[in-house]
């Protein structure tokens, strides 16, 4: 409908006195990768939780694919087409890796055969085939983060929210992860990714949104943002180039 998959207007979230998000306005274009950066406690995860319906905004609106989703709950938003991963991986520990992805694949079908096939393809695509039969509980952090992406991607999202999927990964794992995110994006999925590693953010993102203390500090192309004085002072200047 519109050229925007996501439009966020004046998003504000208050936790009993603490303003975790305040007046955040931005949009995500169809097929875009938007990097979301900011120091710890800036309110990035809180914003994701609002977008994915984990909690409701105190004020403001969220429009996804032309539809107002401000008041919808988590499972409804997933059904509409927003997939997300969690900063602290949320593996379904009672299930195997393949079954974890199957849970995502069941989002749009009741047919187990169709879902199994879709899960299988997603697992291959995400490079988890070798671990398919393993219990999700025994995976290491890197594998769990990848499983997060696979489960979310299996729900056939139009927009994927990735919360620090590369934190704690080795350099090689990070390269693989960037590759996977690019491939998912090539399938037409728009992406918002929270990421601390500035090299990653700058190389992958079309635009970057910088949050600080719950507010938008800057929004623009990677070049614009890195040359923004406020950003340099508040965030980049802190020598926090690599986590």
């Amino acid at each position: 409908m519109s050229n925007y998959i996501l439009q966020v207007n004046d998003a504000t979230k208050k936790f009993s006195g603490l303003m975790a998000n305040e007046g955040i306005t931005f949009d995500v274009g169809v097929g875009e990768i938007l990097g979301l950066v900011g120091p710890n406690g800036a309110g990035k995860t809180t914003l994701f939780n609002s977008l994915s319906g984990v909690h409701q905004l105190t004020r403001g609106t969220i429009t996804f694919d032309g539809q107002d989703i401000t008041k919808l709950s988590s499972h409804q938003i997933c059904k509409l087409g927003i997939g997300r991963t969690f900063q602290i991986p949320q593996a379904i520990v009672t299930l195997s890796v393949e079954e974890n992805v199957l849970i995502g694949a069941l989002c749009h079908t009741n047919n187990m055969k169709v879902a199994r096939k879709h899960a299988h393809e997603t697992i291959e695509f995400c490079g988890l085939a070798a671990l398919a039969d393993k219990p999700a509980a025994i995976l290491n952090v890197a594998q769990k983060k990848r499983l997060e992406i696979a489960r979310a991607y299996a729900t056939d999202p139009k927009l994927l929210l990735l919360d620090e999927t590369m934190a704690g990964l080795t350099a090689t794992e990070r390269v693989e992860s960037i590759q996977l995110i690019r491939e998912i994006n090539n399938q037409g999925v728009s992406i918002v990714m929270i990421e601390h590693n500035m090299d990653v953010v700058m190389s992958v993102s079309n635009r970057v949104l910088v949050l600080d203390a719950g507010k938008v500090l800057a929004l623009g192309s990677p070049e614009e943002v890195t040359s923004n004085e406020a950003v340099i002072n508040a965030y980049l200047g802190g020598g926090k180039k690599d986590a």
Binding site: H75, Q76, C78, F86, A91, T94, I103, C107, N110, R151
Partner: protein, 331 residues
């Protein structure tokens, strides 16, 4: 592929023969009583397993639905002369309806809070039953009537008939559970049990699925209650609506293997056997049967936390481990 289905057929035929022959070999009223109770407890366990096992919400109040099943049969017979063949399905619907109301209220709680809340509600329901004259109050209800047609009113004179009929119910429910186990419904319940946040984010309406699981669970337990009524022909709140019964329902499933298809059946067979025999053979020592029963249960739960159904897997693992240890020095 064809050979496999042939093997399956043979297995089914074998099981069928065993089920038919068992009540004939152990052909006493006491043996039949035990077998009938095993069937009833298997149904109770399989029912509870949906909410307590698959969905992981430990309900400590399932005696409510056991009682509703039993009382529905009794009251509909008393008031409308209705056959239990119809009454038991009405009981299932009624129990599912009550589970809907209780579940709406309580399923928002998790873990211990849910366990205690269900226990408290069951206790309230027990008090209501005891104080409702219309359903017999503390005296309970009695349904035996020799003038009724035995087949139409499920009041058989031959105890074998109960065994066969209830076995058929167990097989039917078992096949249903086996099928359901492979569907989206059970995968979703397992996902909710494993990680509700992840489940919600993958498009699962956890509250809804838990409510359905709770209602289904109540309906199956209610069916067991109806069958219990037909077999015992008498019940009162102190027999059927106690926290003891609620606890036993949990125990049967936990002991056999929680969240598994066959676990509750195995748990029911073993627990009923132990409890009936300790009761009969140790009855002259007041309470000793309960002590031994309790100790056995503690031992099993302590040493086989995944239930009796996990024993073959444990033995296999142990053997593999031993083999690996033996091989290791050679390398």
């Amino acid at each position: 592929m064809k050979k496999l289905s042939y093997k399956k057929l043979l297995l089914c035929a074998g099981i069928l023969v065993i089920l038919i022959v068992l009540p004939l070999i152990f052909n006493t009223a006491f043996s039949h009583h035990i077998m009938t109770m095993m069937c009833i407890w298997a149904l109770l366990g399989m029912g509870w397993n949906f909410i307590g096992g698959y969905a992981g919400q430990i309900s400590n109040g399932h005696a409510i639905y056991y009682a509703f099943g039993a009382y529905t049969n009794a009251m509909l017979l008393q008031w409308f002369n209705l056959s239990p063949w119809i009454a038991m399905w009405i009981g299932c619907l009624l129990s599912a309806g009550i589970a809907f109301l209780i579940g709406k209220g309580l399923l928002r709680f998790r873990g211990h809070v849910f366990a205690i809340a269900t226990m408290a509600v069951a206790e309230c329901v027990r008090l209501i039953f005891i104080n409702t004259k219309a359903i017999g109050g503390a005296t309970g209800v009695y349904i035996f009537n020799a003038e009724l047609d035995p087949a139409l009113y499920m009041q058989f004179t031959d105890t074998k008939t109960y065994v066969y009929l209830y076995m058929a119910f167990v097989v039917a429910v078992l096949l249903f559970v086996r099928w359901l186990n492979t569907t989206k419904f059970c995968y979703y319940l397992r996902a909710i049990n494993g990680n509700e946040t992840a489940a919600e984010s993958a498009g699962i309406n956890a509250a809804n699925y838990k409510l359905w699981a709770y209602m289904l669970s109540a309906a199956i337990v209610s069916l067991a209650g109806s069958l219990y009524m037909q077999f015992m022909r008498y019940t009162d709140p102190s027999m059927i609506l106690t926290s003891n019964i609620s606890m036993m329902i949990v125990l049967v499933t936990v002991m056999g293997g929680v969240g598994t298809v066959y676990g509750p059946l195995i748990g029911a067979i073993v627990l009923t056997y132990i409890s009936e025999y300790t009761r009969v053979y140790l009855s002259h020592y007041n309470g000793l049967d309960m002590v031994i029963y309790g100790v056995l249960v503690i031992l099993i739960v302590l040493f086989i936390p995944d239930g009796l159904i996990s024993i073959p897997g444990r033995i296999r693992k142990h053997r593999e481990h031993k083999a690996a240890v033996k091989e290791a020095p050679a390398k």
